[in-house]
């Protein structure tokens, strides 16, 4: 199956830099499959990323124009490129810390303006590249190298945040449910305004290490355990602590 994605990948790149069990490699493929499914031409696409593990999903793997920018600023760089050449199909792919913490201001303002960007936020709930520090998306109580006793603060709900700011489309999926996620990415790409997909992606190396989930399998199991589709919620059954609600957020 990987062979049929070869046309979307730079031939110079033979492997990914992602750790064993990282969800970003799955996401790397699912974005390309969504693009293939829609019949989009990579020549018309620009992929913009910030700094962090997820910023390496498009750069250097994707065989297209890629702009690997500064920490937090991907959406602002993308805004400039899109305004100059509206024919570019511009996708921002970056991490939770990059897009929602250091880059949070650019994110909400791009959503407010309704500029036609598709933003994919790979959320591993931690700063992976720098060694496992707490992020604005780390669940309350979770441990990290900067919250060894447990995170005292609640995380952002990024889909609600961008919807409140004006995003035309927002959805949350997980790499553990690939077909559902591809449907969200495709719908975001088809939205001719600001669209946002938050993708839950496990990080055994950092998040797992600090939270007794230090094998890829245990990370995937835990993500599957806490995720609930909006349509699947049974009012009779109590939700798990730190539940992650999946689905499309079409309401404000």
């Amino acid at each position: 199956m990987p062979r049929d994605l070869q046309q979307f990948l730079r031939e110079e790149v033979k492997s990914t830099p992602f750790c064993p069990g990282c969800g970003h490699g799955i996401l790397l493929g699912l974005i390309l499959r969504s693009i293939e499914g829609l019949g989009l031409d990579m020549k018309d696409m620009l992929f913009v990323s910030g700094i962090g593990c997820a910023a390496w999903i498009p750069s250097p793997h994707y065989r297209a124009d890629t702009l690997h920018t500064l920490h937090g600023r991907a959406v602002a760089f993308a805004t400039g490129a899109k305004l100059v050449n509206p024919n570019l199909k511009v996708m921002v792919i970056s991490g939770d810390g990059d897009l929602s913490s250091i880059g949070g201001n650019h994110l909400i303002h791009a959503a407010r303006r309704g500029i036609d960007l598709t933003v994919i936020c790979a959320n591993n709930m931690i700063y992976g590249m720098t060694g496992g520090q707490a992020a604005s998306t780390t669940p309350a109580g979770s441990r990290s190298s900067t919250t060894p006793e447990g995170n005292p603060y609640p995380p952002f709900d990024l889909c609600k945040l961008v919807k409140a700011a004006g995003a035309a489309y927002a959805a949350r999926g997980t790499v553990t449910r690939p077909y559902e996620l591809m449907a969200y990415i495709s719908k975001a790409l088809e939205t001719a305004a600001f669209s946002f997909v938050e993708v839950m992606s496990p990080c055994p190396t950092q998040y797992g290490k600090w939270n007794e989930l230090d094998t890829p399998a245990s990370c995937f199991d835990e993500l599957s355990r806490v995720c609930r589709s909006r349509t699947e919620i049974d009012p009779e059954v109590p939700l798990p602590e730190n539940v992650v609600i999946l689905g499309e957020f079409d309401d404000q």
Partner: protein, 381 residues
């Protein structure tokens, strides 16, 4: 066509413009078609002029959420193919520094107009200052070069903005107009030229966008959307853009080339105006608005038969030591009036081969008066 002459759409002849308006006109004449900015005194009139004019010229204007977003959008726009700029003042410049380094390292042409006010910090937001000279060159981390011009008139707010664009596009380097509040808000007669020489970035399809054979070369500059599969990154990269974050040879070669491509052309970039240097025992070194007062003071001193001359620096970065060494060799000493605590005086001191360099700093939020410079001339000559 990398180098060509254009006929201006502006009616040629005399006009009364403010310095900030003239800078915006200069940018448009140079071919600027993208502006992103954030309001800040005393530069905002540049943004307002661009907001009025750019859309009707087929360009794009956006007011961003902050200065970091502004310069980031400018870099994205430049790679999408537009000549692009922003304008700000001290606090905004501080916020833009990281991305300025990104532009230098990724060889992204852009123009940044800094209309300087009295710093540091918020300082005196509506008052004049000139304390950003070093920040423009050294504000971002690591070793890199910029080009910077210092206008002394409304006319130069126009012409040096054009020049900043030309050098930025030729060298793929961030270029500054280091203006001052008093010049930005000055309103005086400016003769609009009929024709202008314009430089555009060079593009050779398929050529490596981040490397040259020469140690001081400027690579081809492609743009997004033409099938080049560009890899633009602020990490250390090879000639094709692939990250090489552990290769000492690639890193050293890249950093050296980015510096050499500017320094090797310093003689052509650096422009001066000389006044009465033939017999000058004391040379007043002045730039920007201060040079107006300095020239007045020098004329008054010459009327009293003082052997004083003036060197007006039109280019501040790169800074060339050669003219100072030559003057020092002829026995001249130097007086440097400036609206900071001696930022250029220090550079002159380093170049003056041991000759005396008198710093005349003023940081009280007002321009230096000719009388003060004249008094200093009388004191040190």
């Amino acid at each position: 066509m990398p180098r060509h002459t254009i006929t201006l759409s502006l009616p040629s002849g005399p006009r009364y413009l403010s310095g900030n308006e003239a800078a915006a006109e200069g940018a448009l004449a140079a071919g600027c078609r993208f502006y992103a900015g954030y309001p800040i005194t005393p530069s905002s009139e540049i943004m307002e002029s661009m907001a009025r004019t750019l859309p009707s010229m087929g360009g794009a204007f956006i007011q961003m959420e902050d200065e970091i977003g502004s310069i980031s959008a400018v870099v994205g726009a430049s790679w999408a193919g537009a000549k692009a700029m922003t304008a700000t003042s001290g606090p905004g410049l501080s916020l833009m520094q990281e991305c300025l380094g990104y532009a230098a390292f990724t060889e992204t042409p852009l123009v940044l107009i800094d209309v300087q006010r009295a710093g540091p910090c918020t300082g005196q937001a509506t008052k004049v200052g000139g304390g950003d000279i070093m920040a423009a060159k050294w504000g971002s981390h690591g070793d890199y070069q910029v080009v910077a011009f210092s206008p002394w008139s409304v006319k130069e707010m126009f012409s040096l903005t054009v020049e900043a664009f030309n050098w930025s596009e030729r060298l793929r380097v961030p270029a500054f107009l280091l203006a001052e509040e008093v010049t930005g808000h000055l309103r005086e007669r400016m003769d609009v030229p009929t024709r202008l020489e314009i430089h555009d970035r060079e593009y050779e399809p398929g050529a490596p966008p981040f490397g040259t054979e020469e140690e001081d070369g400027v690579p081809s500059m492609p743009r997004f959307g033409v099938g080049e599969n560009l890899l633009v990154t602020g990490s250390t990269h090879d000639a094709r853009g692939f990250r090489k974050v552990e290769d000492p040879v690639v890193h050293e070669r890249l950093v050296n080339r980015l510096n050499r491509k500017v320094l090797a052309r310093a003689e052509e970039i650096c422009r001066y105006e000389a006044y009465f240097l033939e017999d000058a025992r004391l040379v007043v070194v002045a730039y920007g608005f201060t040079a107006r007062a300095a020239l007045r003071a020098v004329n008054l001193a010459r009327a009293k038969e003082r052997k004083v001359g003036m060197l007006r620096l039109i280019t501040l970065w790169p800074f060339q030591e050669k003219p100072f060494k030559e003057l020092a060799h002829k026995g001249a000493s130097f007086l440097v009036p400036e609206m900071n605590l001696g930022q250029v005086a220090g550079l002159v001191h380093a170049a003056a081969s041991g000759r005396e360099v008198h710093s005349l700093p003023q940081v009280n939020g007002s321009a230096i008066a000719p009388a003060r410079i004249l008094a200093a001339i009388e004191e040190v000559i």
